[in-house]
Amino acid sequence: MERYSSDEILDIISEISRIDRAEITPEVLIREELGIDSLQAMAIVARLEKRFSIRLDESKLFEVATVGDFVRLLQEKLG
């Protein structure tokens, strides 16, 4: 099983959304506060899947509201 850190996930979100890393904190709302749209969210999932050689449940994407939700999505998969 791949190891991961929350920071690495936040780095990925920052890189794909082109939003300054300092603004990417677990509690921030991805749509309302960061302006990340669903296409960018899918790009983030794609990067996570590739990086950690996993397949996430795409229907869970609709439940993601905060950056922390992305981290939890991966936690659930990687344990």
Binding site: R31, E33, G35, M42, S59
Partner: protein
């Protein structure tokens, strides 16, 4: 004189069909879509910019705020599309009863000025930039005219920067920016050509960039949506503009016709400059319906290539937001079902499906009126989600049911899941 002015956007309603409203409420992404596309139109922001600084200006979006009709305004400016017209008329009457001069502009007043005049002191029929300074001048002389019409063509290079600073930053995250005005295609259901003629004008690129920089100063992470009906009619202009966007670090959306998919260089530039989505009017996947839409048959000529061209755009990581209309004379339950198949099999990022709506000023309305097929419904039903005419091969009830079912299918959880996986796999292949 009392130089307090209210710029009012009347309340609109997404639908008045109770079953469709119920379905919208059940869709997984209905809330996020409402939020994502909650932008405020540019017309009142441009009017505010055209108004001298010694006026006290208030922007009222009735979708979020109540209007205080007893507040002492010296002048009230209202804009309305057809769907908002019924409510706009009540607003004009309320201010009229209080002796406050109110002016109505916008698409609906431009095509039906005489009707609008029954409810407002003055009607501004046409583009605001030429008209508004005359309205203010006449107001200053206490001599508002009943009608204002353009006296000269609007020079887009002289359009002032919209007053984005008047918008509530918490309320709106999608911000509209305008680079061009007009559309040469003259589609039967659209009134853009009626309002702007077939001319197509562009704004100087440095002005557009300046607007975007203003928006960036005001919002931390705005979604910038180009308000242009078609940003890509003048290709070299579009190329130059997109080139400039690359350095701005913005996420943005554009509207085009499908021919953009043939321009590899432009598609690449869109992707590199972080364009997220292209809104494209496909209108129909039924050949006979497409043939009748416009004289140059520009849409019909692409029908057989729709799928390949959609795939070409989307495999670059840019979503296609397809716009479709049902209710053409050629439509049957089968053609509407085929449209659902088309949307599903092409994994469109998003779809805007509307019921053919005979807007005043459109050729469709003239044709349906001549055949006695317009239903007696007030303008608030002209929201593109309700049947306002007698369809040729379906009853109004059948068309409404087919429309509602199509939404359940296209935005149902299974379809959204399949579409999401499609895009996730695309992004993986692009890594």
């Amino acid at each position: 004189m009392n130089r307090r002015i209210a710029f009012i956007n009347p309340k609109g309603q997404q639908t008045r069909d109770p079953e469709f409203a119920r379905i919208l409420g059940t869709l997984i992404n209905s809330k996020s879509y409402r939020q994502a596309y909650s932008g405020f139109g540019l017309s009142l922001l441009i009017l505010a910019a055209l108004t001298p600084e010694d006026w006290e200006q208030e922007l009222i979006d009735e979708n979020y705020q109540e209007i205080d009709f007893d507040r002492p305004y010296g002048l009230v400016a209202v804009t309305a599309n057809t769907q908002q017209a019924t409510r706009a008329y009540r607003i004009g009457e309320e201010f009229g009863r209080r002796g406050v001069p109110a002016v109505l502009g916008g698409i609906h007043a431009t095509v039906l000025p005489e009707e609008a005049k029954d409810h407002f002191r003055s009607v501004a029929a046409g583009e605001a930039e030429d008209i508004w300074p005359r309205v203010l001048k006449d107001w200053g002389k206490n001599d508002l005219r009943p009608f204002y019409r353009p006296e000269a063509a609007v020079d887009l290079s002289a359009v002032p920067p919209p007053r984005y600073d008047l918008l509530d930053r918490e309320r709106y995250s999608t911000i509209w920016v305008q680079a061009t005005r007009g559309c040469p295609h003259d589609c039967s259901f659209c009134v853009a050509s009626k309002i702007f003629g077939k001319s197509y004008q562009v704004r100087p690129i440095d002005r557009v960039i300046r607007d975007i920089e203003t928006v960036k100063e005001l919002w931390k992470s705005p979604n910038i949506s180009f308000a242009d009906d078609n940003l890509f009619v003048k290709r070299q202009y579009a190329r130059d503009l997109i080139h400039e966007l690359r350095g701005l670090n913005i996420r943005y959306f554009v509207q085009s016709d499908i021919s953009i998919a043939e321009d590899d260089e432009l598609l690449k530039a869109l992707r590199d400059s972080n364009c997220g989505m292209i809104f494209i009017g496909f209108e129909s996947v039924t050949a006979s319906a497409l043939k009748g839409i416009n004289k140059d048959r520009s849409k019909y000529r692409y029908l057989n290539r729709y799928s390949g061209l959609i795939q070409k755009i989307q495999t670059m990581g840019i979503g296609v937001y397809g716009a479709f209309i049902i209710g053409f004379d050629q439509d049957t339950p089968e053609t509407i079902e085929r449209l659902g198949d088309f949307i599903a099999s092409n994994h469109l990022y998003a779809s805007q499906i509307t019921i053919l709506t005979p807007y005043p000023g459109s050729r469709v309305r003239e044709e349906l009126a001549a055949e006695g097929r317009l239903l007696a419904k007030d303008w608030s039903h002209y929201n593109c989600t309700e049947v306002t005419f007698l369809p040729r091969r379906l009853s109004p009830e059948q068309l409404q049911r087919a429309y509602n079912r199509l939404h359940q299918r296209v935005y149902g959880p299974e379809q959204l899941k399949r579409s999401s996986r499609y895009f996730i796999d695309i992004f993986k292949s692009l890594e």
